[in-house]
Symmetry: C3
Subunit: 254 residues, 3 copies
Amino acid sequence: MKSPPQEFDAIVEASTLKDAIDSVGVLVDECKIRTSPEGLQIRAVDPANVGMVDLTLSAPAFESLNTDVGILGISWDRFEKVIGLANNGDLVHLDYDHETRKLNVEINGLSYTLALIDPDSIRQEPEIPDLNLPADVTVEGSQIARGVKAADMVSDHIRLSVDDVEQSFSFSAEGDTDDVDLKLETDDLVALSSAAPADSLFSLDYLKDMNKAIPKDAEVTMELGEEFPIKLHFGFAEGHGQTTYMLAPRIQSD
Amino acid sequence: MKSPPQEFDAIVEASTLKDAIDSVGVLVDECKIRTSPEGLQIRAVDPANVGMVDLTLSAPAFESLNTDVGILGISWDRFEKVIGLANNGDLVHLDYDHETRKLNVEINGLSYTLALIDPDSIRQEPEIPDLNLPADVTVEGSQIARGVKAADMVSDHIRLSVDDVEQSFSFSAEGDTDDVDLKLETDDLVALSSAAPADSLFSLDYLKDMNKAIPKDAEVTMELGEEFPIKLHFGFAEGHGQTTYMLAPRIQSD
Amino acid sequence: MKSPPQEFDAIVEASTLKDAIDSVGVLVDECKIRTSPEGLQIRAVDPANVGMVDLTLSAPAFESLNTDVGILGISWDRFEKVIGLANNGDLVHLDYDHETRKLNVEINGLSYTLALIDPDSIRQEPEIPDLNLPADVTVEGSQIARGVKAADMVSDHIRLSVDDVEQSFSFSAEGDTDDVDLKLETDDLVALSSAAPADSLFSLDYLKDMNKAIPKDAEVTMELGEEFPIKLHFGFAEGHGQTTYMLAPRIQSD
């Protein structure tokens, strides 16, 4: 079903909403929010079909949430700007007006009426495939930031790999003249739950964008394989929010 | 009379001078400073005749002020840069040299010789009309900043209005798809001295510029009417400085 | 001799390396590092032959230094970016690989392989002439910053002069309409070791670049003459590093 909810009335802390908006906004400009009494879900894929996001924000993340099942089509860019008017501790009141088909956003006496988009005009939501990836490693968000920044100095690709013998995880990149390698050993990792061999190359631009939305202090769990997509999972809003990114690999040339 | 003063020798804190310069600099590039033993006065109107400023800085705002009645023609842009070399707590020594017709600016051992402009080449000072505006409301500078920022997301115009029944003051803006409204009720206002109905539309660019010069913690008194100009008053330099802006309304189209 | 060292293995604090890199990087894009057990030396001149730098970083500045006499050709821009990945307190491990002719840079588990440049392709190192300049004055780096910033408002040249009668040192600049003068008297100077008359004009762009590399709290000793080059000396790395700049004068037109 593609109709908007009969009712959507939610109060949520601005910081929670900002984290959710950032996670999706690095990939797409507009998307569908699926509403239900259990919370919100957003699934989106970038125009080139390379990066996907699956985000859930469950009911306990809200101060209050009154809604039924439905879909809201949101222009992400304008939504991001409005929420940017709030300070992190502010409460944001979202209220869908079924008559005008607009979303009222209220922040400390400021009312913003956001025109919604017809969900049919928004790119179809992707199915995030179940891939059964063999390696499973958890790192701090700040380590991803380091790896991405270093790789960016030499290349527009980045290799992520797990060495099951060394029990290590590496970011690496090869440039025309210079190479870079950030190897995280057991002590540098939050966890190495499954140390199968893994080695895949990715477009750095996508990982840079995803990195922007990953909190530096988040624990990010990565599932990897040999020339396979990567999945990154991290929580926000004290665990009531969950983001999964999936990124397709680049073919490795020799 | 359009002649420079025989003497102009003043010592003033840099922060006071910066506040005064900001207030005028957002509207004009050059202006006349009228000197007298009572203090300084600046009146200026922007090239499009839409925004006016009337600023006074009275003698007690100065560490010392020795001057007679006269006019100094100042290039605001260069004056602003020089004073920008001072830290807020620094004392600035201004000394007009009648021989060279230049203004010596001294800041902690640094001497800057500022060439003045012939006052006759500067746009005539405006008469700020006495308008007898019916509504009178006082808000914090930070609320103006919020209203202007929100309006800027949807339009290049902003409506300011007083609802005498609700005893409220509003900033609002209508965009092609989205609207925004910041309503301040009695508790959000510093004062609502005269709650007559008022409603006027203004060019947002001008109010954005004026907002830059309004300290966030200043109490700003606004006089308004129905499709009439607005006057904004605020003090600086511990009350020894006073700025009045007047902004002409835009015709409201329907 | 132009060959690389047989061995070059050094550990040094990132902040020390950053200070050294900044000093040279404001003048040239690539340069030769001369290695020896006593430390490193870099001499370079900018492409227009106007500004020179002579930098030494002696062995006690390093946590460890194992090297023989040799030359490493470095692309300064890439070296600067890599070291920029380190936090100031981090230790940087530099290790020259004689096989691959590359420099391995290691920072907290991050390995960067920096391709070196053939020293023969790098501009010849200048001889810094012994000039026997008559005046000798020491100021704080922050005063140079003030003088340069003020001069930049009116001109693209700056005059540095010593008045031996007044026992003062001045930065000054003359613009088309405005002039600026920062006079430092005995109390404002760290030292005036030799108060001979001196007066020379310099290109402001070069002094602005050098100023970027001079720590604000450094004591900078300047040697000057009448229409002669200026030499600026300052230390870093707790005195184990020493930078000398020499800047050629501009002909003074009248």
